[in-house]
Subunit: 276 residues, 2 copies
Amino acid sequence: MTKEQLFKNIKKKRSFLCIGLDADIQKIPSHLLKTDDPVFSFNRAIIDATQQLCVAYKPNLAFYESLGNKGWMAFEKTVTYLKENYPDQFIIADAKRGDIGNTSEMYARSFFEELDIDAITVAPYMGEDSVKPFLSYKDKWVILLALTSNKGSLDFQFFKDEKGERLFEKVIKTSQNWANEENLMYVVGATQGEMFKEIRKIAPDYFLLVPGVGAQGGSLQDVAKYGMNDSCGLLINSSRAIIYADNTSGFAQAAYKEALKVQIEMELLLNEYKLL
Amino acid sequence: MTKEQLFKNIKKKRSFLCIGLDADIQKIPSHLLKTDDPVFSFNRAIIDATQQLCVAYKPNLAFYESLGNKGWMAFEKTVTYLKENYPDQFIIADAKRGDIGNTSEMYARSFFEELDIDAITVAPYMGEDSVKPFLSYKDKWVILLALTSNKGSLDFQFFKDEKGERLFEKVIKTSQNWANEENLMYVVGATQGEMFKEIRKIAPDYFLLVPGVGAQGGSLQDVAKYGMNDSCGLLINSSRAIIYADNTSGFAQAAYKEALKVQIEMELLLNEYKLL
């Protein structure tokens, strides 16, 4: 998917919501455990209920890999289901990969060629040759970890050089030599509030994938105020607050209601910033 | 496995070799492609041929994941085969994971509980809460990326603060607050030669997992000279140079010969540094 198509979908849906498909077998409604593939059944119901309200889905690979072989099948079925039924959804494999070149190539082949996924999250620690193999696919995206939403982000991401430049800034600046705003986004946690202003100075036109609204406590208004650009430039992820809104047989309807609340807020913001 | 057991195995085998099981379907001998599970058949033959000469095996998850569901089955079968037949081998899942706490917990459950693997490689970018969930398992290890063997290691790992401390040093120092030499190792690339001297100043007693000898050009002598400690403290990984030594039906015998060359060199070094 191109940046232009993504922005078009945002305007059509009046939403820049990304729903995190973090299907934890220990948290999904118990009646689903009787089905053949509980994780896929859960995902399909969540997707059918919410797809009008969001522009992207982000399965986090950890949740699938932790189930081994069965988990991988559920992941692949989820991707195929999205591709076949809702082809305008932007699919992000939240994998946080990053390895030496020949290994990153294997990952790129797996996610972009075999599964035809739109984007993959990548960790920057190993530098250019760990990221580049993902950048050679047309209309496919790397979403590089820059400033994450967790407490541990303080450990290394704010490490500062003698000129006062912090590691996350160095990551954002350096990676712009490898790619551009048509194939690269950054992860910036919603919990980082006012940091969005600084990030927009060094990456004005890039899309940012923003976790941490909802369960982790970030504010949608703040993120929009400091982070929105003229192509919206934001994909706000929410996982637990939506998909686990309820754990009875009404879970999908509850997920719909939660997603609708967010979509309404987003429509107001898109109007406020004159993007509709 | 404890650190003491690992050192005992090193002395018994007179080797500190780790063999990287990077089974690439495009590189394994063509006659294996006719078998039910070519990747597992390849791994099993390599393991049977080399297990006397090494103390550890390191499957890199990328190679398995790139085959989807089938690849995961081959990975799980390989781990089970090692556990059942060669229980003294230290098994490292080269996964380079690292995510927010609840997600790292899922990975920990998958690798340590379900598969009973000894160690997992973890990327440090997201800090403490992305690493900690892996540290709560008895006799299981985190191997944290510190200074990698690839060209891209120059991009961020040498980023220096106002006191001259570099990011990889900061990672090594900070992480010692979370763990100790009984459950934490570091990845340090063999291509980084003289850096081992500096790393031993800040992590004298820790095991280091060292990729980059062989195909990537690092020197075993240099690594031993600067990196060995009184528990050996080194696991030297070699992948391609051993497992792809030959691609005919004699591939396992060829792998044996290559591993034997390395083991002989290692025995000499263990003698030279009076560890046998």
